[in-house]
Symmetry: C2
Subunit: 378 residues, 2 copies
């Protein structure tokens, strides 16, 4: 509450919460002891002793955060305001399994902490995004198709022996949605973040929070069926959006046309080089994505759709294709104030979202209460 | 809090809320004065004077609620526990416009109050569902396609001169979703209610509350495109679900086959009579609906999908068609624990939901505070 308001006095806190003054005084003492807030002389004195304002202390701790992809990860140390103090991109092969990958991640976290001039004792929490579905409550990947060895592996359990801090894990597209919402669209309630990379996924922000769905499977738009398409998908169905217009599918289709392309990165490179067949395919991919998103717009009525991922960000053509179909296919009431925009954070959306995920958790009243009971930092 | 817990003592309230005992005592006094709670001797005495338990008083007021359709409406007087005290179905033509329709509704509310042995002074709130999109914050229909004269009409404004109680208005499918969730699925967070009548619509419950979306347009699945269909829809697009499989479309297609049918009611009658072409068409409608819902399941990952509306409830064939396609087309993780069920409340889902919508509002701390300030019931 103090962070969101900027500054507050104890009297204002009592008024806003309806809590007894003695309760407020007690809790503020705890926050002061944890250095989560500091005191500043108030400016609005009405004569007599000015009331002391409380200010949130961004620098009172750090979080370790990472956005792990298939071939590399972005890792950072952030302060409690979400600002990055040290950050790097690290090559890593997610298929090497959790023990190997997490050992590298933790070693780099140590190096980044040193670079930021902070110690392990300053770490308040750890947030990670991974490229697959996650049982969010347990921090365990759940049947991830491209993360061999990670199924059911407890990431918080692995870190527990190394850091005395809560560990939160979510799907990479979910943390990208959270990061983009926090950085650029905090005033809007409902946002979709679309990642077009090798595959196609969607993170959903509903009423300002990530919508995970019943089993953490929400946002899997890559397997929604496209009208009139019969391509077979790795999921076993035909006509899935991802099987027609994901980065891997685009590379395959370019190769069939005799253009040298194997991965989504090749597609991105070709588009940047101005290749006509690649540009044409990416525009068509945008229209196909737009077809699926038109349905999501009718169903969910978001305020903002953010297009990200390396293929998604590679070309204005893709965005143009998306917009063309959404505004033609969705109902006027649903598109009246809809914004369809490229990602503002780009490649950093995930790591920012991972930081915000864990900061929001660490600063929640429940977590602070729990930390107090455990005596952390006291 | 008292209602949800069954009974609570003042001490338990102080513990659960963290509010000062003096604050709790003050607020409980207000609730007692409004007769929203009453006192009962506590059972868990530990010696000495037993603490007094507070019990929520279902009978301390009533709400007026209605689910208005195109040709008729269901109206009721309910107690604050959501139980119906008097209820009736009234013929009314929504196209006669708001003044005419609401005058009938209010006249019938008066008769139902009398039937229930209650007076106008007992009315704590009014909840209405209407067959079109609604600007929920203002209680005004917004560009409703089948409600001539209602666009932008303030329903709360009309009632303000007649009742001193808050008036809430929402789309009929949203209140049906709320009613079904409250009556049968309160333990689940995410539910879709599908109404298949003349048209096709969807109400979305997310984290236990109605998801309205940015402009109140969420749930408009009737205009999502079906693969391989080119029927022209009243919305101007082609291949919309509703244009192929809504009740009106089914009646038209039956008529084209020489079967006498003009409305969705005729379709329902034919199905009940065992007409083979009608049954075949309804099964196909179920598969088409399943196709669209498979996308919604991948996107939203609900726990429950409830199928309602007169056509939706007319036949097991429709439900079977829906299930067939959803479980084939959606991802295993998303369907693992998914339930696809017929509406438990049937034709009463809307009126129950309208009651719950206004009861939840009336019992919210904000509304109680406001009522206290206005001196209502004090």
């Amino acid at each position: 509450m103090i962070r969101d308001a900027g500054t507050l006095t104890r009297a204002e806190l009592a008024r806003r919460t309806g809590l007894a003054r003695s309760t407020v005084a007690q809790r503020v003492d705890t926050l002061l002891r944890h250095e989560l807030v500091y005191e500043a002389a108030g400016a609005d004195s009405t004569g007599g002793r000015p009331p002391t304002s409380l200010v949130f202390n961004d620098g009172s701790g750090v979080v370790l955060c990472g956005d792990l992809g298939v071939t590399h990860g972005r890792l950072a140390v952030c302060d409690l305001g979400g600002a990055s103090l040290a950050e790097e991109i690290e090559e890593l092969d997610i298929a090497a399994g959790p023990e190997t990958v997490l050992a590298i991640v933790d070693e780099r976290f140590g190096a980044l902490l040193e670079q930021a001039g902070r110690a392990s004792s300053h770490v308040r929490g750890i947030g990670l995004g991974v490229p697959g579905p996650v049982a969010f409550d347990r921090g365990e990947p759940a049947n991830p198709p491209i993360m061999p060895g990670w199924d059911g592996f407890s990431i918080p359990g692995w870190f527990a022996a190394r850091h005395d801090a809560p560990v939160l894990v979510d799907n990479d597209v979910n943390i990208m949605a959270l990061g983009e919402h926090w950085a650029n669209w905090r005033g809007r309630d409902h946002l979709l973040f679309i990642k077009v990379g090798t595959g196609i996924g969607c993170g959903i922000v509903a009423r300002g929070r990530i919508h995970h769905g019943a089993k953490g499977a929400a946002g899997d738009i890559g397997h929604i069926r496209l009208a009139g398409e019969e391509a077979t998908c790795r999921c076993g169905n035909v006509g899935c959006l991802e099987a027609v217009s994901g980065g891997a599918a685009l590379a395959r289709r370019l190769a069939e046309q005799g253009v040298e392309a194997r991965t989504s990165r090749d597609v991105v490179r070709l588009v940047k080089e101005g290749s006509a067949p690649a540009t044409r395919l990416v525009r068509e991919a945008g229209r196909n994505l737009g077809e699926v998103l038109a349905g999501c717009v009718n169903f969910f009525n978001p305020e903002v759709i953010v297009i990200g991922g390396d293929v998604g960000q590679s070309s204005q053509q893709l965005l143009a294709g998306v917009r063309e179909v959404i505004f033609q296919r969705s109902l006027p009431l649903a598109t009246e104030e809809l914004r369809v925009v490229p990602s503002g954070l780009g490649d950093r959306a995930g790591v920012v979202g991972a930081a915000i995920m864990v900061i929001e958790h660490v600063l929640s009243p429940q977590a602070i209460d729990q930390a107090i009971r455990r005596g952390v930092g006291a």
